[in-house]
């Protein structure tokens, strides 16, 4: 009862200083918008990685150059970055593929060679995109389909290319582009296929396939003095159950090939995404903390305004006390006022965040996930801010001496 009445008193007093209330609320709105947005976009990025892992990851094996231990990939990458490591010559070579493919437990092994270079439609339209050289089994391993044309196969010539859907749209505005010519690092290629749209930028391949051009390995080698520099080998085991056996056999075989040097790592599909997943998790947490600081700033705004309100309404407090209001009544009145600002700010913030998330989602091709959990977290945080920062001024108001308060002339 007293709660409802106090809510009405609070709404009246907030309404009477509308500009001030709105500006105070703005602080909370900004804080809630940033937290909700970061949590929901972070969640959707993470989710797109998970989808791919669920679809494919538990069946695949990934071989990567370098000797890092799989357990510590994330930490090593995040906290011990080696800026020149990416420029080192990779330790995986074309000759490694054959012995792996020959293993009984392995169905296929597809090499992946990344070539940096520009893709020109003509002199006017140039795109920086990743050029990928691989073998036909790559499409099978990642279950890639083409929306138009075909994937590279044994019979297709060199100088043919399959491109990602987004790249096709960026260059031509359509994906009906079979037979058109493209220049990859200055060499003319004929487009023979356009890939179907795939999930977002983090996946097992580690490459955004929507923005890449895929050529055959033999073609790719021509850009690198005839030598294949492999960034990754994707292995499909004969049976999903045999994966651990396959991993073990691959390790033994490769060790032999590399004269006992452990300059490669064999990991499962899930582990391959751990790096990107934990990186996104890390950045999401970090930015959410920064956004949390903005909510605290909003809270300080509430505290400031509430203190001004208490000072301005000292006489009112005196009158209320003389008419029988107890300290608890006054405390509740001012606390509810702070809570109204913060809860209302929280709601408005969530609504704005949903709108912005949908917009950003459209721009980045992500499906924003605004879960009930994210909304409750944001709302909960804003309520906490309201209580924490409203409590001080409310206590100050409640403790005012009624006689001095009645004497107040302001």
């Amino acid at each position: 009862m007293i709660f409802l009445t106090n809510a009405k008193i609070a709404i009246d007093s907030l309404r009477s200083a509308r500009t001030r209330t709105n500006l105070t609320m703005l602080g909370i709105v900004i804080g809630v918008v940033s937290i909700t947005l970061i949590l929901s976009l972070g969640e959707s990025v993470r989710q797109s990685g998970i989808n791919q892992v669920n679809d494919l990851g538990n069946k695949l094996i990934v071989i990567r150059p370098g000797g890092m231990q799989s357990g510590n990939i994330a930490n090593n990458n995040l906290f011990n970055p080696s800026p020149i490591a990416p420029y080192a010559t990779t330790t995986l070579q074309e000759k490694d593929i054959k012995p792996i493919e020959d293993l009984k437990s392995v169905r296929s092994a597809s090499p992946l060679m990344l070539i940096n270079g520009s893709i020109d439609k003509n002199q006017l339209a140039t795109q920086q995109a990743s050029i990928l050289a691989t073998t036909p089994s790559f499409a099978e391993a990642l279950k890639l389909g083409t929306s138009n044309g075909q994937f590279i196969d044994e019979e297709t010539n060199d100088e043919t290319v399959v491109i990602g859907q987004q790249l096709s749209i960026d260059l031509y505005g359509t994906d009906q582009i079979l037979g058109k010519k493209l220049k990859l690092r200055g060499v003319e290629h004929t487009i023979i296929g356009v890939l179907q749209k795939t999930d977002g930028p983090i996946g097992i391949s580690g490459i955004d396939l929507n923005h890449s051009a895929i050529i055959s390995l033999s073609d790719g080698k021509k850009f690198n003095q005839g030598i294949a520099q492999l960034q990754q080998i994707l292995v499909v085991p004969e049976k999903a159950k045999q994966r651990q056996t396959a991993i073990h056999q691959i390790k033994t075989t490769l060790s032999k090939e590399h004269n006992g040097e452990k300059d490669f790592q064999v990991i499962t599909g899930e582990e391959a995404v751990v790096v990107s997943k934990s990186f996104y998790h890390f950045t999401t947490t970090l930015t959410a903390i920064v956004a949390g600081i903005s909510l605290i700033v909003g809270g300080v705004g509430i505290m400031n305004i509430m203190l001004v309100g208490v000072a301005e309404r000292t006489r009112e407090i005196g009158i209320r006390k003389s008419l029988g209001a107890s300290n608890r009544h006054i405390l509740l009145q001012f606390l509810i006022e702070a809570l109204i600002i913060s809860v209302l700010g929280g709601f408005i913030g969530i609504i704005i965040a949903i709108a912005i998330a949908l917009f950003i989602g459209l721009m980045l091709g992500l499906t924003p996930i605004i879960s009930l959990q994210v909304m409750l977290i944001s709302l909960g945080l804003s309520v906490c801010v309201g209580v924490i920062f409203g409590l001080g001024p409310a206590i100050r108001a409640a403790r005012k001496n009624p006689i001095e308060a009645l004497r107040d002339q302001s």
Binding site: I2, R315, G318, I319, K321, S326, L406
Partner: protein, 280 residues
């Protein structure tokens, strides 16, 4: 047979109130002994700084005495908790201030209903009671006015309605007419007198000796002590002045020729109500 004396509502015994510390101590009340019985209309007078307002604040539980005893309705109140003090304030005491102390952002009826919020009445009940209290003071057609739209006299009547809405046993008035012209002062005093006749205890601080004529006991204070304490025969309220000014003006404006008739009517009315009051 001894005449039946009503029970004391207020009993002060050797009450002291000091302000400040050490060398800078100011004594506001210096050993007050006072008993006020139920239904008394007490006027407290005295020069500035003699401790009248301090006494009123202590009686109204807004302030605490430094030492001494204070029994309110037989209950010692010096050592009770803050929340109990607040409860007594809202149930047993009604305040009327010199500067009205209405909340400027709330309507007249909301102001009157204010004490009821804290006694936990529902919204509808609050408005009903407030409306009833306002009707007593002929302000029923000003319910949704804002305080700044009222005259000083009307504001003070609203404040008195607010003080009465919880039906307290004691009304404490601190110079209730201090900010009013003589005509409005007269009306306010008559209102208080009427409330007194209904059985309320009224304690009023004033500087204006003319107003003490409505009281039945006059206490003169000097230097924090009671100087004189005398019982007098109170003046009966003259109810002519209570007819709302606006109503009078309207009648005058409608027809000048009817002026005499109207004034007769008013006179009749007043004699009737005088008789009623006398009967009471």
């Amino acid at each position: 047979m001894t005449p039946k004396t009503p029970p004391p509502v207020i009993k002060l015994k050797d009450l002291h109130k000091n302000y400040g510390f050490g060398d800078a101590i100011t004594t506001a009340l210096d050993g007050m002994n006072l008993t006020i019985n139920k239904g008394e209309f007490v006027a407290i007078m005295g020069p500035s700084g003699c401790g009248k307002t301090t006494l009123l604040n202590i009686l109204g539980l807004l302030d605490k005495a430094t030492s001494g005893e204070y029994d309110l309705d037989g209950e010692p109140v010096e050592s009770i908790s803050q929340s109990r003090r607040a409860q007594i304030r809202r149930e047993q005491i009604g305040f009327v201030f010199q500067s009205f102390n209405l909340l400027p952002r709330q309507t007249v009826i909301e102001n009157v209903a204010l004490p009821l919020i804290y006694s936990g009445k529902t919204h509808t009940k609050r408005l009903q009671l407030a409306s009833k209290a306002l009707r007593l003071f002929h302000l029923q057609n000003r319910e949704y006015y804002m305080p700044h739209q009222l005259s000083g006299g009307q504001m003070q009547r609203v404040a008195i309605a607010r003080a009465l809405v919880n039906e307290p046993s004691i009304i404490l008035a601190d110079e209730p007419t201090g900010n009013l012209d003589s005509r409005s002062s007269e009306i306010i005093m008559q209102e208080l007198s009427e409330i007194h006749q209904r059985g309320n205890t009224i304690i009023m601080v004033t500087h204006n000796s003319r107003l003490t004529s409505y009281a039945d006991r006059i206490i003169y204070m000097l230097d924090g002590k009671i100087d004189t304490d005398s019982k007098v025969e109170p003046k009966k309220p003259d109810l002519t002045a209570k007819i709302p000014l606006s109503a009078k003006r309207r009648k005058v404006a409608t027809s000048k020729s009817k002026k005499k008739v109207v004034s007769k009517k008013v006179a009749k009315k007043t004699t009737k109500s005088k008789k009623k009051a006398a009967k009471k």
